[in-house]
Symmetry: C2
Subunit: 365 residues, 2 copies
Amino acid sequence: MQGKALFPLFCLLIRLELANFANSKKPNRRPLTRLARTKKTEERGPFLIVRTLPQSLFVSFIMLYSAMEQKNALLRTALVQISCSDSTAANRENNVRRVTEAAAKGARLVVLQELHDTRYFCQTEDVDNFNLALPVPGEATDFYGSVAQEAGVVLVTSLFERRAAGLYHNTAVVFEADGTIAGTFRKKHIPDDPAYYEKFYFTPGDDAWRPINTSVGRLGVQVCWDQWYPEGARLMALAGADLLIYPTAIGYSADDTPEEQQRQREAWRTVQRGHAVANGLPVIAVNRTGFEPDPSGQTAGIRFWGCSFVCGPQGEILAEAGEDEEGVLMADIDLGRSEQVRRWWPFLRDRRIDRYEDLTQRYLD
Amino acid sequence: MQGKALFPLFCLLIRLELANFANSKKPNRRPLTRLARTKKTEERGPFLIVRTLPQSLFVSFIMLYSAMEQKNALLRTALVQISCSDSTAANRENNVRRVTEAAAKGARLVVLQELHDTRYFCQTEDVDNFNLALPVPGEATDFYGSVAQEAGVVLVTSLFERRAAGLYHNTAVVFEADGTIAGTFRKKHIPDDPAYYEKFYFTPGDDAWRPINTSVGRLGVQVCWDQWYPEGARLMALAGADLLIYPTAIGYSADDTPEEQQRQREAWRTVQRGHAVANGLPVIAVNRTGFEPDPSGQTAGIRFWGCSFVCGPQGEILAEAGEDEEGVLMADIDLGRSEQVRRWWPFLRDRRIDRYEDLTQRYLD
């Protein structure tokens, strides 16, 4: 698939020069026509370039323009991976400092981890933790709106939303670079397993899977547990997402062997890279790092495994953070690449929508 | 998740001995009860074992029995990766020899690659190739039924099926170890790109996604291009598949750079490992190897990339073949592992079936 970016330009030249090739040998079997045309185009391209000086200059200009276009299609992105303390003020300060650093490095899109203002409070079920929830819009969105505006970046945040008394969501809020709210996504799939008691806290989102329109693209933002579900990734792709984004909080249990821990972390990475491949879209996953004790003392706490990463539309890793380090992970994402990948592997073309109705069933027993 | 296979046995003993623990400290907060119970069960297990001699003997017996059960739960599987010639007779001989070898090594399930009786004839569109298609049941299934019976294995084959004049399918046929046909699956998603002109040959399967019941488990068999679709994997899982199986034929184009070739092969592996993770099921993928020229001479042919593999329900690679070698790849698949993996990561529990209806849409524009 490499090197085909200039293909349309060569096609243009070939059309202009078509008469010169009137005597070309015609492919004599219909089924091979498409392929024959493709091959010949590529073979004749270089020949055309040197045929005449004016055409050579024209091609040089086109190639320069194309290179500039390609550069513009690169989206400089930053993932902020931090270790959270008990202090919301300190966590915010940590995030802001890193957003500023990311902006200084040229980021146009910055993604924070899940529930980045607090420790991962779902290790226990405690009604007092509902005090951490805030309305959207409200004080927290005012704060991060200002952060986005000052840094001049599109900012993906993850907040504990109080929608009404007794109705709370785990909500990603995306800010435009001017500080306005571009859109929100309420976590759809809610986990519940020992030390991750999220069903106690979060009502499953009841909105649609809709990408959030921003100045850097249509962002298919979901949250953490959503990352395990091919359905969500596909729905975002069908709704026109340019990339898939998952703020997350996942870590090791001390009860598991090192081998099991490694399998879990690799599974987490693999399933998301799989979404990239299946949908021909880049994926951004931002995880927290550091150890957080269990306030109840009943478990040995969680060591969040970091390893935030960005992959391209073939699942290829573009950038990856370490397990235990805080930091800003930079990646240049070529948003034009999906177009090429999907042309050669057009999975959306061949979906059997006439046979997928059972996907809305719990189990086929 | 390791070492939890004996958990139910300890539970049984604990129930028998429950009265002895009447004075145990009760967990005093509801949300933590589940976790506290789990931890204590594990802590008390070893204590119980040494409490009394009769109980110790009982436990020894139970552990031995459990180990035997676990061994039985291991499904010895063989993947046959070959390079095909122009001769169907020679290809069949090659397959049979390797099925025999697999059986001698203890395989109970043997999986052949896609369209293993012929070269990959879809490199060109040629009506004469329809002569290769055979009815199911018919001569080919009689042949492979005998092979399965003689080897005493469940055998997954991949045939070019003539269903009626002008109606052909790419059909996986699964044989029980007694040689009878256990079931078939007609390829659902049909590709069409240069050198893979399958839409010309194969009508998309119109049957349901149903695993095929065999003596070694419920086999979620699909074919090649199906492997890129999370929808098919999910539907097989919802219908009760014990493992996912994909005979396939995919290779490198000489037009692509080595880097692009590597991305493609890794994407192919990743998306299938992703299905394993998303569904908590093992995956078997069997690809052909070797170079096959384009009969029309229009392209440089296909170098099939081999790399047949088996992964477990966390996407972890259990066995993997090389790119260019023919051979029998053996793997012991623990069919009991999915139960554990799905208990800890119960993705099926949390699917948002109330919000998946748009998966039957082509695009949401």
